[in-house]
Subunit: 418 residues, 2 copies
């Protein structure tokens, strides 16, 4: 069988099993999640033996320590996958919930009811825990899943997905509802992206290169997240201590994640009082500042920013700082450089807070709170499968509900169209 | 300037104007719609002169009478565009409406608020009235639009889109919020479909060929509607007169549209009492019946169905009829042949009604009502831009709300992440 045929067989089987998953009860789906959790605990040794093969292969290929670290299924990582499964089992089931319901003048009762999307394809890079985390959320929402992870995690992913397969069958559901594309051949991704007839949605998780490749080659809709270039704008008249707390938290609490602040914009009238202490606090914490001319004047330890520092996703203890003449300049700067991910304003002015909310075009816009709150758990969605930076279907963190759609149900008593 | 450059300039200008449209007031948007309506009325002569050029070109090219008819901007068609604009002006504005709002344990107020999608690309075939109808709904939802109609309607479309441009500018909004790709060159479509950076969504309207072409070539998400192969299943024990009314309405009231019934499934236990009178009624109305063996036995004027009749979108006075042994067989048949558009059951049994609703995977599922109700107006959405048969973002009729997304707004008083 050619690679194309075998992927076609997988996708078709996923589509067939999706019909069964769609009508499966919440109890049954939660049972699957709990069974997977039990298997992870009882088969930890097997998982780690398979993971060891990947780690050896990775070391031979000369992967960096950071890459090896992401690849490792330590006891701690396995425990967190188990914990994640339990949390997803406890989330409300979005399927069947009614979004809208009303009666038309002719007596028809029209409702919009949540249904699974169908078959979701996940294409991801090195972390093998995505196999469990992503599958759990997709299954909770009643979907079938086709997984394709990084080639360096091949053995780990194959092992984890076969555990899911077993759990599904033990719970009386089709094992084909979760399938892993069983090859390291990169050509498989391109073929997967043409299975438009069987796969309803592709979610790529990884670096910008992977995501651009997927978007360019997919005839299936893609929910994507390129990067997080998040801004905090400190307005004139903002509370100084609140501004400092929020900016510090946004940059330093976890600098390597997509919702960390990358650029701080400061209104010129507050800059002389706010910037010196704030900058000192950052520098003491090891943050490298790259600023505009005015920032450098106010805080001479600042390195002059280059053009490419605006709009950069540092994911590190580096911060671009710009003093702006007006809030309009701040919004225009955000418009030009942001990745539509997360932006915050610190202000005490009502009108300006409302204007910022209305005009800033990002998935999460905050007033007087840290950018770090753009997260499914923090915003009350439960677990998340990623953060979408495009507006179609979902914009911002995607939880179980964002892995569903709606259909119309129309209840009549003989109505016909005149 | 190459074609590629000129389309790039158009798409970029649309993106820039989208930012202004997004924050424009409802009053201002409605003013645009009313101004367009006035212009259509006052410049009817100009429009029809331009339309005449297309009609002459079409006749030279040997277009069928039906095609010429669809191309013609008669007084009646222009009046209906004017009426459509007035109706869209009266619809509620989806932008700014709150989908969800709640307070998190830490005091953050989290809301999801409707926002425009951004820039919508519409690719359509012969009817030039789509230029007005589609633009009106997209503008109402605060979007910018890039239009590309059929080459045979070139002059009409250019004329209509320039009226919209004028109306926007007169109302103080950027004319570039509605642009028409000013060339007959078909290569323009492929280029438009790569403007992923500037266009957020593509809606193709036309035959299956056009839609497949768009899906294959687009790196932009596509909301699509392939075809409507709609089924009505007459259950055992269904009310005979209700069944006959619904089936007759679904097939005959307007056979050329996507929500007309194409296949009627009849439970074997009701077939002997239901089918003879129903079939006679159809045949008397000029409907050609193509049936399974049992149907042919019960009503010998039926032509034996060929394999390709199941799943065919006749769009005509032709109906496929099948007698099924069970409701499960009916659902399996629908699963195999339907286009996920519209399916109805006629039944008096509660459990079977619920099962049909749950298991049938179509955008609109009806109990005891005609398939003809799958329509934005009929289901209470106001005007519609089309019917989506895929589940992502929208499934079923798409009104103004479906041309928006949501963003998260988070109001705090200094919260940081621990």
């Amino acid at each position: 069988m050619t690679l194309e045929n075998s992927i076609n067989v997988i996708a078709k089987a996923a589509r067939q099993s999706a019909r069964k998953m769609a009508v499966c009860s919440t109890t049954n789906k939660n049972q699957v999640l709990e069974t997977i959790a039990k298997k992870l605990a009882s088969q930890k040794m097997t998982i780690q033996t398979e993971n060891q093969k990947d780690l050896e292969y990775g070391r031979e290929k000369g992967l960096s320590n950071a890459m090896i670290d992401r690849l490792t299924l330590s006891d701690k990582v396995i425990d967190s996958m188990i914990q994640g499964l339990k949390e997803v089992a406890q989330l409300p089931d979005p399927v069947g919930s009614v979004k809208d319901s009303f009666i038309r003048p002719n007596g028809l009762q029209v409702s919009r009811v949540r249904i699974p999307l169908g078959v979701i394809g996940i294409i991801y890079e090195s972390r093998p825990n995505v196999t469990i985390d992503a599958a759990a959320l997709c299954l909770k929402a009643g979907n079938a899943i086709v997984l394709r992870g990084g080639s360096e995690a091949y053995h780990s992913n194959m092992c984890l997905s076969s555990l899911i397969h077993e759990a599904l069958e033990e719970c009386g559901l089709p094992g084909e509802a979760v399938q892993y594309i069983p090859t390291r051949d990169r050509a498989a991704i391109k073929i997967m992206l043409t299975q438009e007839e069987y796969i309803d949605l592709i979610i790529p998780r990884g670096g910008e290169g992977l995501i651009r490749f997927v978007v360019q080659n997919s005839s299936i809709p893609v929910l994507k997240h390129y990067k997080g270039v998040c801004h905090v704008y400190v307005d004139e008249g903002a509370d100084l201590s609140m501004s400092e707390n929020i900016c510090f938290n946004a940059k330093v609490q976890r600098p390597g994640v997509c919702n960390a602040m990358e650029t701080m914009l400061v209104h010129k009238s507050i800059a002389p009082t706010f910037l010196p202490a704030m900058a000192r606090h950052f520098v003491d914490e090891g943050v490298e500042l790259r600023g505009c001319t005015k920032t450098c004047e106010i805080f001479p330890e600042t390195r002059p920013a280059k053009d490419e520092d605006w709009g950069a996703e540092f994911l590190d203890l580096i911060l671009a700082v710009k003093v702006v003449d007006s809030m309009d300049e701040a919004i225009a700067h955000i418009d030009q450089y942001s990745s539509n991910h997360t932006e915050a304003i610190v202000t005490s002015d009502y009108t300006r807070a409302m204007k910022f909310i209305r005009e800033v075009d990002s998935s999460v816009v905050l007033v007087n709170a840290s950018t770090r709150f753009n997260d499914g758990g923090q915003l009350g969605l439960g677990a998340e499968i990623g953060i979408s930076t495009s507006k179609l279907h979902a914009f911002g963190p995607m939880g179980a509900e964002e892995l569903t759609g709606t259909k119309f149900i129309v209840l009549g008593d003989g109505q016909i169209r005149e």
